[in-house]
Each structure stands twice: as C-alpha cells, then as structure tokens.
Symmetry: C2
C-alpha cells in the first residue's frame, strides 16, 4: 500500500475509534511508525486528512450502494441488506466522530452534506417510488417529506446529545430508526415480505 493510503487508512481507524478531536498528528505518526514530516509531505494538516478521507468514503459509499442495487431483487431486500452495511460500517465507530467533523472540519462536513443531498436523498426517493410501484409501500406517502425526514434521521442518530452513548450503541440507534422508517411506509403486502427477512 502506498504511504498516503496507509496514512488515510490508519487515520480512519483512529478517528472512528476515538473521535477526530482527540487524535493528533503525533498519534497518527506514532501508530504508523513514521515521522510527522512524512505525513506533512502528503497532507497540509489534520483537516486535510479528514477531508481526503471523507472524499474517499463518499466514493466507497456510492460503490456499496451501486452494489446493493445490482444484487437485490426488490427494494425491501435492498433495505434489509443495507442494515447489514450499517452494522459493518458503524459497529466500530465512535459516535462523536461525525460531530467532531461537523464542529471542527467544515470542509469535510460540506462534502458529506452534498453527498447527503445529492446521492442519499435521490436514492431514497428512487427507493420509495419503486416500493410504491411494486405495491410494498403505501401509495399515499408524501415521498419528498419522508425522504427528507429520513435523511435528517440518519444524522440525528449520530448526535450524542440526543442519543446518549452510555444508553445505546450507534448501531442499535441506527437500526431501530431504519426499521421504524421502513415499517412506517409498508403496505400489508410489504409487511409480510419484510417480516420474512427478519431474523427469527
């Protein structure tokens, strides 16, 4: 692996575990057994690492979703599979990570916001339309309102001021919110199929 890639990978690991604020350039250098100078050859500062890490994460997220679209036969299966993605992606993530980024790394945060508005929101709307067409989702739902609400809900699930990290894990919160969101739009037919996917 290229050194630049290794720095990003290790930073991601540390940020996700401890949050962004409490990880220093020294920590990253020490963990990799390299000098800080080497890091500064590739990145201007920590903000730059966070920014480039986020750029990469958004691309990866797009790939995972494309993959989900290609490998699931209907929208409910896709949503159930996305629960697996959430489990994998977030079981090691410190919830404060996203909030550190919101507070201290606006450049990276803006990328996430754009990704949210362009990519996640559009996918959500597409999913809702498809679910209605297939008879799984109620045709009366107001797609635009519920898609925007869901988008905010994902972000809300990371907010340690709302969901205390001593009471619930990040994965527990995110899965409960997604499960509730799905059930809120299902028809009877959709409910039957969704229940078949549930672990017994």
């Amino acid at each position: 692996m290229e050194i630049k890639e290794r720095i990003i990978k290790k930073s991601k690991e540390l940020f996700f575990r401890y949050g962004v604020k409490s990880v220093t350039m020294d920590d990253i250098a020490n963990e990799l057994g390299i000098s800080k100078k080497t890091i500064y050859l590739h990145f201007e500062d920590k903000d730059d690492i966070v920014y480039q890490l986020f750029l990469g994460e958004m691309v990866e997220d797009k790939c995972e979703w494309d993959d989900l679209y290609n490998t699931s036969s209907n929208v409910i299966e896709r949503m159930v599979k996305s629960m697996e993605l959430i489990k994998q992606a977030f079981s090691e993530v410190n919830p404060t990570t996203l909030f550190d980024i919101k507070k201290y790394h606006p450049r990276a945060w803006n990328i996430f916001q754009e990704h949210k508005q362009r990519f996640i929101l559009e996918n959500l709307k597409k999913d809702l339309v498809e679910g209605i067409e297939q008879g799984y989702f109620r045709s009366e739902i107001k797609i635009d309102i519920l898609a925007k609400m869901r988008l905010e809900q994902i972000e809300m699930g990371f907010d340690p001021h709302i969901f205390s990290i001593t009471q619930h894990t990040l994965v527990e919160v995110q899965l409960e919110l997604l499960d509730h969101f799905i059930r809120g739009v299902l028809t009877n037919k959709g409910t039957q199929i969704y229940n078949e996917y549930q672990p017994k």
Copy 2:
C-alpha cells in the same frame, strides 16, 4: 380582558403570522391602538413578551393534553385526535416563528426545550408503553430511542431549511411525520384500528 393579556394575545397573533423577528414593539402597539409606553409598563422588551407568551403556551399545551387523555378511550384515538390539535394549532403559524425564537430568544427557547424533555417526552413514552400493553404497538420497539426520535422529528418539521415552506405547509409536514411515526410502531391489530379512524 386585562391589558397585559391583550398584549400577549395580539403578539402571539402577529408572531405566528409574520415570525418573531419582523414584528416590532411599534407594530404591536399600533395593532392594539395603545402606546409603546403602556407595553413597557408590563414587559421589559420584546424578548420578555416572547418569554411570557411561551410560558402561557406551555401551560395551555399541558391542559390540552390532559384533556386528550381524559376524552379518548385508547392511545390510537388519542393520537388521531392530536392530529386535529396540530391542524388547529399550526394552520395559521408561520414556520419561521419557532426558528426565530431558537435564534433570537434563548430564554423562551429554553422553556420549550424543558417542556419537550419533561412533558412531551414523558407523555410519548407513556403512550408507547400503553400502546404495547393494549396490543396496538409492536412489543419489540425500543421506546426510549423512538420517543427521542419523535421529539426531534416534531422540531425538524418546523425547520424551513429542511422542509421548504414553498413546497409544503407546516401542517402538511407535521401530519405526514406523525402519521408515519404512528404507522411505524403499529401491530396488525393496531393498523386495523388506526385505519378505521382515517377519513375515507
């Protein structure tokens, strides 16, 4: 009506229609046909009017909820009736009102936050527990997570940055969110009963 009460009532009317920021002490005095001096006999400034108005609103909100508890035979009926309250309360409200208050009147905002955390959150949890006991709500739901989410959702529904006021009315957004929230927790039995309450 006492003059102090009349000032509060008129201010509420103006704030709800135009938002708080764009209404001045002069506007309030002119609308009531009184002098600004008279207002200052009863209130320190606009912030004080907003604060005292909010105090009163929270008390009224509590009374309306007590009334709902006394006049509905089950939790689903209560939630359906609360939709009527939302329609009545918000059909005349400018969505920016709450956000003006958040931004410019922290004292009133804090009262609302406390009301939210103490009163609304506790009622929500009680409703969810009751619905589960009566077999209307799914017993697997995580009450604490969904109640907190719902609380944030109400606030989110007022945010003009999320739900553009040119696309949806405040009532439309709030009703869609509440309907979706309820459907997301219903059992089959609950769904049947909830559907019976829907306008045909």
